[in-house]
């Protein structure tokens, strides 16, 4: 049915990347480039009583030293979200107070990194140390220090209680339903700090172009938000800033933050020279992280297993600043709770400040943390009911043409929109997993003995596709003399393959081939607007924009072709870059048509700028079935098999879609089993290197079986839904359930490292 989409076309920038030619931020040379380094707070919570930078400024090779005393004080959020951002404005370029170990105190721009680092040693800062808040549990205790006591920040829910955000949404009567239920479960976990670790750390180069405008060449997922937020913080009109996103070495959410660019811009503004900020790997670990969350789930069901009540309480730790504080917490509810069709639902969420590293957007965006608890609670309920956990999911999960009141009640920091499920393969996925893992042979942990014990676990999931009625994307398409097309999109390919996927969608809509599409993306001067790469929106929302734009351009092609072939537009058939008159079979190529429109008669540029928003956010669905082996002597968990079925609607590019799932799953596996932050007593992160913070390498991956299940989502471009985030939600609950099935213990803290498993088993 499709010609260009649902095909594994080669990634359009693939060969360039494989040849080492594709240009990342740092792959262009700039004359007179200044290197910028940060002086970072050694304290988790302190007032800056005085700062003396005179010796640093006098140091040979230093060109600028910036700090709270000589930069504008503009409250803002670093969350690269749409305007107005639903995150509190609690951040400043520099402040008189530091709120975590690593908070920037000053920045030095020098001819070399070595000079900048030496100069930083010459800056004298007098601190007054304050009591620090170093855990979720301590954040809202009476009498705790107030982390954001500054007067000019706003959008904070209750600063006296260190509450960045709060929501309490009720549908039906959960308390009564729980009391009336024959079976109830209450389960509580706490998820951990982790970092995205894109292999390219955050980097930005700023410079003045020939007319004096500021250019920010940056590793970002959100170029348009970078322009808007930097304009505010630098007190410059947006028209004087251009943001260019070259190739990006991975993001996973951490590059949805706007916080390096304005420091570089400030240095360039002051010195007139190009300036580069490149985070070290150690700095990357305290740039932005995943929100740790304390999650409690209560479930109530009747003897038949039908859920009456689901309640989720979440306390999310946003660290020192409230980037994505409200929305990540909201998503723990809004992306998890609609999965099951209970009539009585409550979501009670709070986000607290602590004096720990700042959290932000991270693939999964709260859903990962919510499912870590919800899907374990479902297994506990199944055991109480003496029901197979697969069966419990089967009878309760949301199905086609069904809805959940949560869709309307909970959105991203505000109410959501009502929607019905129009595409889902979840039932098929569950059957596939059940069969593939021989689920009927599963024995309870009480029947297992010996040193090595195997266990099976499963869990199911949904996510979303963009933020409904908020996320907007646009695209422009024009035809060239030879019948090729320029496709300019604001959408941001950070390695995901969106340039390829969007080119395929354009080709399909334009009745041409993908190799006739020349794509250029993410440049605020050159491409139309797009909110950026987040919320699993690019294929669905930006793809929608490309499709409508292509369809409009096709209408223009049809019109010109009819003029050339002397027939009506209805008599024109367009296929494979050729217009054919059904009247006499005569043909014109797209090149003929372009030249005719550009040079011959009624000349005009065939082209269009189209935009797209969506009233709904159709969820992709996933089922995970895993078998693990636990070494009861060491506590080590080994994955024997990890089956992951995903319904992403029509996979525009199946190979790239599989790659998104594989990448998310492996990221999730190392998040579940090896990744974690070690803090000292003063709140300093102590393991900021790949030697001490273990992410998976190729030898760690085994037993993966990933399968895409095709459905057709009517609201998506050629039936597509999102795919990039959902995979990361699976490992914690599926492995935790398998762990229980193997050895009879439940993980409530993470990662599930051997020493923790042994500790659980010894209890």
């Amino acid at each position: 049915m499709f010609k260009e989409v649902n095909q594994s076309r080669l990634k359009v920038d693939g060969l360039s990347l494989a040849a080492g030619k594709a240009l990342f931020v740092d792959d262009m040379d700039f004359r007179e480039l200044l290197i910028v380094k940060f002086m970072k707070s050694p304290h988790a919570h302190a007032e800056i009583l005085s700062i003396d930078t005179s010796a640093a400024e006098a140091f040979s090779g230093v060109h600028a030293v910036i700090h709270h005393g000589n930069t504008p004080r503009i409250p803002h959020t670093t969350a690269g979200q749409g305007h107005p951002e639903p995150s509190p404005y609690d951040t400043y370029m520099f402040d008189k107070k530091v709120r975590y170990v690593g908070d920037p105190v000053a920045a030095v721009a020098a001819d070399t990194a070595e000079i900048a680092l030496e100069a930083i040693k010459l800056i004298k800062v007098e601190y007054k140390e304050l009591e620090a808040v170093l855990s979720i549990a301590d954040a809202s205790k009476p009498g705790v220090p107030v982390i954001h006591d500054e007067e000019d920040s706003f959008g904070i829910y209750d600063r006296e209680k260190n509450l960045a955000g709060h929501v309490d949404v009720k549908v039906g009567d959960v308390e009564k339903a729980l009391a009336d239920s024959e079976f109830t479960v209450e389960y509580e976990i706490e998820t951990h700090y982790s970092q995205h670790t894109p292999i390219e750390p955050h980097i930005c180069i700023s410079y003045l172009e020939e007319k004096g405008r500021l250019v920010l060449r940056t590793s970002t997922q959100v170029p348009f938000h970078v322009r808007r937020i930097c304009a505010k913080v630098l007190e410059m009109p947006e028209k004087n800033i251009r943001v260019v996103k070259p190739r990006i070495g991975g993001g996973f959410g951490t590059k949805q933050e706007v916080y390096l660019e304005y420091y570089a811009g400030m240095i360039t503004k002051l010195t007139g020279r190009p300036a580069k900020i490149e985070l070290t790997r150690e700095e990357e670990f305290i740039s932005r992280t995943r929100h740790p969350m304390a999650v409690k789930v209560k479930l109530g069901a009747n003897v038949d297993g039908m859920l009456n009540a689901v309640e989720m309480d979440v306390i999310s730790n946003t660290g020192a600043y409230g980037s994505h504080a409200l929305t990540v917490m909201f998503n723990a509810g809004s992306k998890c709770l609609p999965l099951y069709g209970a009539e009585n639902v409550r979501f009670n969420g709070s986000t607290v400040y602590t004096n720990l590293p700042v959290a932000g957007a991270y693939r999964g965006y709260g859903a990962t943390q919510g499912y870590a608890c919800l899907e374990q609670a479902m297994d506990i309920l199944a055991e109480k009911l003496k029901m197979c956990p697969v069966q419990l999911r089967k009878i309760n999960h949301i199905k086609k043409d069904e809805t959940s009141p949560i869709f309307a009640a909970l959105g991203e920091g505000k109410e959501g929109v009502p929607q019905f499920i129009k595409s889902t393969a979840l039932s098929e996925i569950i059957e596939w997993g059940e069969e593939g893992l021989n689920w009927s042979d599963t024995k309870p942990h009480t029947e297992k003995t010996g040193r090595f014990r195997r266990g099976k676990g499963m869990a199911i999931f949904m996510q979303g596709s963009g933020i409904p009625l908020v996320d907007m994307a646009s695209a422009s398409i024009k035809i060239n003399d030879d019948g090729s097309f320029n496709l300019n999109v604001g959408a941001t390919d950070l390695g995901t393959g969106s340039d390829t996927v969007l080119s395929q969608i354009a080709a399909e809509a334009l009745e041409t081939t993908t190799d006739n599409i020349i794509i250029y993306s993410s440049d605020t001067d050159m491409t139309p607007f797009d909110v950026g790469a987040y919320a699993s929106s690019t294929t669905y929302i930006s793809g929608g924009a490309v499709k409508v734009t292509g369809e409009e351009v096709l209408k223009q092609i049809r019109m010109v072709a009819a003029d050339m072939l002397k027939c009506s537009q209805e008599e024109i058939e367009l296929k494979n870059s050729i217009a054919t008159s059904k009247k006499d079979g005569k043909t014109k190529t797209y090149g003929d048509i372009a030249k005719y429109a550009l040079y011959i008669n009624n000349q005009f540029q065939i082209g269009y700028i189209g935009s797209h928003i969506s009233p709904v956010s159709p969820p992709p669905f996933m089922g995970v079935f895993t078998e693990i082996e636990v070494d009861t002597w060491t506590g080590k968990i080994e994955i024997i098999k990890y089956m992951c079925g995903v319904d992403c609607g029509t996979a525009i590019n199946p190979k790239l879609a599989e790659g998104q799932v594989e990448g998310a799953v492996v990221n999730g596996l190392s998040y579940a089993l090896t990744e974690g932050y070690l803090f000292n007593k003063k709140g300093k992160m102590m393991n900021g290197s790949f030697q001490d913070y273990k992410i998976y390498n190729i030898e760690d991956v085994q037993g993966l079986e990933i399968k895409l299940f095709s459905t057709f989502e009517p609201s998506g471009p050629f039936g597509a839904k999102s795919v990039s985030e959902i995979g990361i939600n699976g490992p914690i609950p599926a492995i935790a359930n398998a762990l229980y099935n193997a050895v009879g213990v439940r993980a409530v803290r993470f990662p599930m490292k051997p020493e923790y498993i042994l500790e659980l088993m010894e209890k």
Binding site: G14, L17, A19, P198, G495, K655, L656, E658, N697, I698
Partner: protein, 154 residues
């Protein structure tokens, strides 16, 4: 100090600071395919081939390359004339953001130069020093297996 090397088949003399790392020298001289991911030798994105062995160029001083033969990703193939390994990485979907890709391809090249028909264990060991956060390694492993197949039947 002057450093004499044969790089990508060409004899060159570079001027380097005594404390300069090889990665910094290479990038300064335009060999941008070597990437900086960690500066501690853990991620492999700066990998280059020195005398047939894979070396993390962020870990050694430029001076240590003096007198040796270097190969960077720029010599393996081009966009118009890619090496089989490069082409296969793209065909198999083993390239996502591409930041780790030059190092992965060089690691594969070193392996396949030595071992025409590597076992899965050999492949995994050869690439274990190269971190990728995008792909989950599944398609990278496939790409190495397919590259070996194609290179054998050439």
């Amino acid at each position: 100090m002057d450093i004499k090397v044969t790089i990508n088949g060409v004899k060159k003399v570079f001027n380097a600071d005594p404390g300069e790392k090889l990665l910094d020298l290479l990038r300064r001289e335009g060999y941008k395919g070597a990437k900086r991911g960690c500066s501690t030798g853990d991620c492999g994105s700066c990998a280059v081939i020195i005398n047939g062995k894979l070396v993390n160029s962020c870990l050694i001083f430029a001076g240590q390359a003096d007198g040796h033969t270097l190969t960077t990703i720029e010599a393996i193939g081009t966009v118009n004339e890619p090496h089989i390994i490069q082409r296969t990485f793209v065909e198999e979907g083993a390239v996502q953001c591409g930041f780790c890709t030059p190092g992965m391809i060089l690691a594969t090249k070193v392996l396949l130069d030595k071992e025409k028909d590597p076992t899965l264990t050999q492949i995994r060991e050869a690439l274990s020093g190269n971190l990728c956060r995008c792909t989950g390694y599944v398609k990278i492993e496939n790409a190495v297996i397919r590259s070996a197949d194609k290179m054998r039947s050439e």
